[in-house]
């Protein structure tokens, strides 16, 4: 066993007392988890270089399953629908922060198979509006230690994110964001073109159409290995005794006098006290089963990768004027984000002209891209709200909570979103989630990140 709080191996009881106060609440979770681990016996084999070496000697025959694959129980305290990053993170923090581990995470397909496994993995928190900055910065800071927290290398790579300013309007917008970030405790800075070129040697500052006038630089932004985030959380949840149940589709939501009591699934009926809907593009469909509607529309978002080349761009660059977003993966592929279609769509296929628009922008901004090749393009279904900001909210049905509407920017938020959602589900209130309530649309209190030159991506 090891201490969940300070991530040190060895005699945990001793360790607990060494843990600093901030983490006191989590200590209860620790005891609970260790109790579970011992009684139910999910003590997880730790990953480490030593473990790898040990296993190599016996041809890796000793590796266990990363997560159990149990049949559903009849009842859970909490059911999370959707084993994507947000759903798994929600479950993880229910256990880690609140000791709630009688939890099932239901997934109709394979875990991490939705947008978690098909996004461009950009992580940043340089948002303009306070509520967004708070949530995304919480997420970014949790990414910093995620590999250690989960004992799973999610390859968080704080290589830095630049948002290029290519018009006077963008310059003003990003300077405004930099001022806001300073007060929000988000470390960003406005940088001049020369610095941009230093950070991105392959960039063409002259334009041609839109000269680079500078950029908003977040040094601790970056990327992470998207699949690993889902796998790491799934492994940790499983280890806490939670049931991650794949190929289990929810076919109905049962409630009695305004309060949820359970769900029907392709693996039978399952009861629960609380239900979290974390199914992105499918949230309208699921909420309908529960008898309410969400201010959300589902559209296709596309991305593509080039063939792998040796490292040539160490940072993430977002050029919003010309709609081009690019980073280089550890495999060497240039990972490129495209645009969304304007029409409702569930096919996970987008329209090709968005790919063309993105690529021609990149050909001009980074001339060397023109001689690379597109290896693969794909699409995901993103759920977009009226102000393009997410919902982390109670719903008209008691004890049903929704986490949706992340649109084109969900991956970077995963740990923060899970943290806030777990807090909301466990205590009924979360400062991080407060402003993201469904109610805001009725009050006309929007969280609009598209103002100034900000983007929702």
């Amino acid at each position: 066993m090891f201490c969940w709080i300070c991530d040190s191996l060895g005699r945990h009881v001793a360790t607990i007392h060494k843990c600093d106060d901030k983490r006191r609440r989590a200590q209860r979770a620790l005891v609970h988890i260790q109790w579970q681990s011992r009684t139910i016996g999910f003590a997880m084999k730790r990953y480490s270089a030593f473990a790898v070496a040990r296993e190599a000697l016996r041809y890796h025959t000793g590796w266990e399953r990363a997560w159990r694959s149990p049949e559903p129980k009849r009842h859970y305290d909490v059911i999370i629908v959707g084993a994507g990053g947000h759903g798994l993170a929600t479950a993880y923090f229910l256990g880690k922060n609140f000791g709630i581990t009688n939890v099932a995470i239901l997934e109709k397909g394979w875990l991490g198979g939705g947008n978690t496994g098909r996004n461009t993995t950009i992580i940043r928190s340089n948002y303009l509006q306070d509520p967004s900055a708070a949530l995304y910065e919480k997420a970014r800071s949790l990414y910093e230690t995620m590999s250690q927290d989960l004992n799973y290398n999610v390859m968080f790579s704080p290589r830095g994110v630049i948002m290029l300013a290519q018009t006077e309007h963008e310059v003003r917008g990003y300077k405004r964001t930099a001022h806001a970030n300073a007060l929000q405790g988000v470390q960003t800075e406005w940088i001049e073109p020369a610095r941009v070129k230093e950070l991105v040697p392959i960039i063409n500052l002259e334009g041609p159409r839109y000269p680079v006038l500078g950029g908003l630089w977040q040094e601790r932004g970056g990327t992470a290995r998207h699949d690993a985030v889902a796998w790491g959380y799934a492994r940790a949840c499983s280890d806490m005794g939670m049931d991650v149940i794949q190929k289990c589709e929810v076919t109905g939501v049962r409630s009695e006098n305004g309060r949820v009591v359970g769900v029907d699934t392709t693996k039978g009926a399952i009861d629960c006290d609380k239900l979290g809907m974390v199914v992105a593009g499918n949230c309208s469909h699921l909420s309908e089963m529960a008898g309410f509607r969400l201010p959300v529309e589902s559209v296709a978002l596309q991305a593509l990768v080039s063939e792998p080349i040796k490292p040539c761009m160490d940072v993430v660059v977002m050029a919003n004027t010309v709609h081009g977003y690019m980073s280089q993966s550890d495999k060497g592929e240039m990972v490129i984000g495209g645009g969304t279609d304007g029409f409702n769509n569930y096919t996970q296929r987008g329209s090709f002209h968005h790919i063309e628009e993105t690529v021609r922008a990149l050909n001009e901004t980074f001339p060397m891209v023109s001689r690379l090749k597109m290896l693969r393009q794909w699409g995901g279904i993103v759920d977009v709200t009226g102000d393009r900001s997410p919902l982390v909210s109670k719903t008209p049905v008691d004890n049903i909570f929704v986490n949706a509407g992340w649109g084109t920017g969900g991956f970077k938020a995963i740990p923060g979103s899970g943290w806030a959602m777990a807090e909301l589900m466990a205590t009924g209130h979360s400062p991080l989630a407060e402003e993201f309530s469904m109610m805001r649309f009725k009050e006309g209190k929007f969280i609009d990140e598209s103002v100034a030159a900000g983007v929702a991506h």
Binding site: V296, N344, N345, T347, S351
Partner: protein, 109 residues
């Protein structure tokens, strides 16, 4: 890459000649309406897996707005029709019923 036939000029326009305009047949709520009505009018969009009615503008063409009946799961187009109507024409509803017998959309059947 959708193709939709503009009911006004008969051009089988490809998506790049069109601009998508979201849900069709919205009823406007102005001053005097309740917060609920106004909220739903502005934000509560239909987001069905299946039959959907939506607005398009033939932007790089005759400039007219028109409506399309489309399946969001297969992108099948059941038909396009005038924007100057509060309900899809009967023949389009019939065509849909033929292919998706138990479809419903908002209060339309």
């Amino acid at each position: 890459m959708l193709i939709l036939e503009c009911p006004y000029c008969g051009v089988k326009a490809e998506e790049t000649e069109l601009a998508a305009g979201g849900e069709a047949h919205l009823k406007r709520f102005g001053p005097g309406s309740s917060d609920e009505e106004f909220h739903d009018y502005l934000f509560m969009r239909e987001n069905p897996k299946g039959v959907h009615f939506e607005r398009w503008r033939h932007a790089n063409g005759c400039g007219k707005w028109f409506h399309a009946a489309r399946c969001t799961m297969t992108l099948e187009v059941f038909g396009t029709y005038s924007a100057q109507t509060t309900e899809p024409p009967q023949e389009i509803k019939d065509k849909i019923s033929e292919k998706r017998p138990d479809w419903t959309w908002r209060d339309i059947k």
